[in-house]
Symmetry: C2
Subunit: 331 residues, 2 copies
């Protein structure tokens, strides 16, 4: 394993500490609960939006805390759901009188932790609801999941509910928006290499020198099939095709197109993929209203990418276009 780490057991807190030090004006770090929250949260005038998940998907979700996005993120260890008490304490600390929305990617461990924490917070009189995200078209059930997995399309749900919360929408309205965005968001990924969790120290699965995993999950879970390494063009045909036919997206649709890197793939290759996906969509009569190229939801150091489409309408497009500020920035 070749990583920049000190003690593998402290990988997550060491990262969170760096994140907080880099954002002293906007973020707060509570080490007891792996909690990163906005410096100005909770805010009694807005619904609190919290996401939890395993770590190893950065920037999701600790680096997408900020104005117009999440109020807080409470990650677990790498690829492990946050403990129930982390979610419960986070919910209590960040509760707003307007309510709390917990965003959860659909994995069994995460569902259990969040549903239990929700019950505990409700017993304390906190108004809290949970929204599950399941945008991955690759498989129906999976290694860690009953039903579809939540992957990079999560970004669009966060962005839309974050914008609505910032604008003062109430909890019911925010849930309506989140469910709507999730219902029109579809993703599929492909891995060129496995990833290496710090505590394991070796690759999580074996992938031959000419093999790729089509439909891979963001924890390296198996996808639809192993295939041979083929051209970028054929890969985009394969995964974009699966995304398009799933909703389905059809001629005349207007979409957001995301090409997401899984951690080890350089941005040059992501833009190359973007160009191919863009042209294929235009050929299919689909208009690209907004585009996203970069790393949004990764799998540690995995070389690979995913493609997400969101069917846009006026409401969704305006929420995606609303201003927002997070830790990940250039300037």
């Amino acid at each position: 394993m070749k990583k920049f780490i000190n003690d593998p057991k402290n990988f997550v807190p060491d990262m969170l500490k760096g994140l907080a030090l880099a954002n002293p004006d906007t973020l707060r770090y509570v080490p007891e609960y792996n909690l990163i929250h906005r410096a100005d949260a909770p805010n009694a005038d807005k619904v609190t939006i919290i996401q939890g998940s395993g770590s190893g998907h950065e920037p999701a979700h600790v680096m997408t805390v900020g104005r117009g996005m999440l109020d807080a993120a409470c990650p677990g260890d790498v690829f492990a759901a946050p403990p129930v008490d982390y979610v419960y304490e986070t919910t209590k600390l960040l509760a707003s009188p307007k309510g709390v929305l917990l965003l959860v990617n659909n994995y069994t461990g995460d569902r259990m932790a969040f549903e239990m924490a929700q019950e505990m917070a409700r017993a304390d009189g906190i108004r809290v609801e949970t929204l599950f995200i399941d945008d991955d078209v690759a498989v129906k059930d999976s290694l860690y999941t009953i039903g579809r997995r939540g992957v990079a399309g999560n970004f669009f749900v966060m962005k839309a509910v974050g914008a609505a919360a910032e604008a003062g929408a109430d909890l019911d309205e925010i849930i309506r928006i989140g469910e709507k965005v999730n219902s029109v968001t579809r993703t599929m990924g492909v891995a060129l290499t496995a990833c290496t969790p710090p505590s394991k120290g070796s690759p999580l699965f074996d992938l031959g020198p000419d093999e790729i995993e089509i439909g891979v999950g963001i924890h390296g879970e198996p996808g639809r099939r192993r295939g041979n390494l083929v051209s970028a063009d054929e890969i985009v045909d394969d995964i974009l095709g699966a995304v398009i036919t799933d909703l389905p997206f059809t001629s005349g649709d207007r979409v957001a197109l995301m090409v997401n890197g899984l951690g080890g793939t350089p941005i040059s290759e992501l833009y190359l993929l973007y160009g191919l996906a863009h042209e294929k969509l235009v050929s299919a009569g689909i208009t690209i209203g907004r585009n996203y190229v970069g790393e949004y939801c990764t799998s540690l150091d995995m070389a690979g990418a995913s493609i997400t489409l969101v069917k846009l309408d006026e409401e969704i497009e305006s929420l995606l276009a609303a201003p927002a500020e997070i830790a990940i920035r250039v300037f």
Copy 2:
């Protein structure tokens, strides 16, 4: 080689095409010269800022074209200087009556191409000057360089001269600013793995499973020494220490701190490194005025990172804080 590519020979144009398709309102692509330029350039009211270099360092420099940064970038093939005529034609196409500044990282091939193109453009009556960037403290001379190499610190020169040009500064003033920023910017990098150029198809150099290259160049050139993989703490001590003692930076200084990923290292590890570097600087009595964590100047898929410090004064800090917009964005 596991990459998202079609024909390795077309890697650069395929990437540039994707970049242009993703930014139809702000960027223009001229395939004949690998040229990416602002849709609103040239602008007669501002000095034109152009950077060229080999490809493979993305986002540098084709993805840092935009308002407040570069007017244009004309890259060569991967790790190869742009041909003289690309630089010459780019200079002619983008020339402004206020003049043109060519930014060049200090590599022998790039120097030759830009100096020759400058002569040709001058013969056409274009006012053009060239500024060389050489922020890498690792080695005095190198595989492709007489004198120090230009690496990730280049970002700060681009940002400062871009802001000054946007504000209407004349060419002499912009050169003064660029030289000043370069003179107070220092960088050193470390590689955990080699990188694989698409046309070669195999790693550019050999690095054992427990070896790292300290002071590596952004084309995989040897640095100061091979070492064993050690903790992130020891690595930061080593490379940050080399940077600090070079200028030198001393107690009471105010700096910009950049932790730059070399392409294959996830952002979680970059934030971990940031936290360590931040604390070491604070311990040394050095104040961090601005920070930058992410990928600014990469080496294809190399796992590794570099640390850059810039000594700030009021003028530099205000130029770095000026608004700017480039292709790399989250929302």
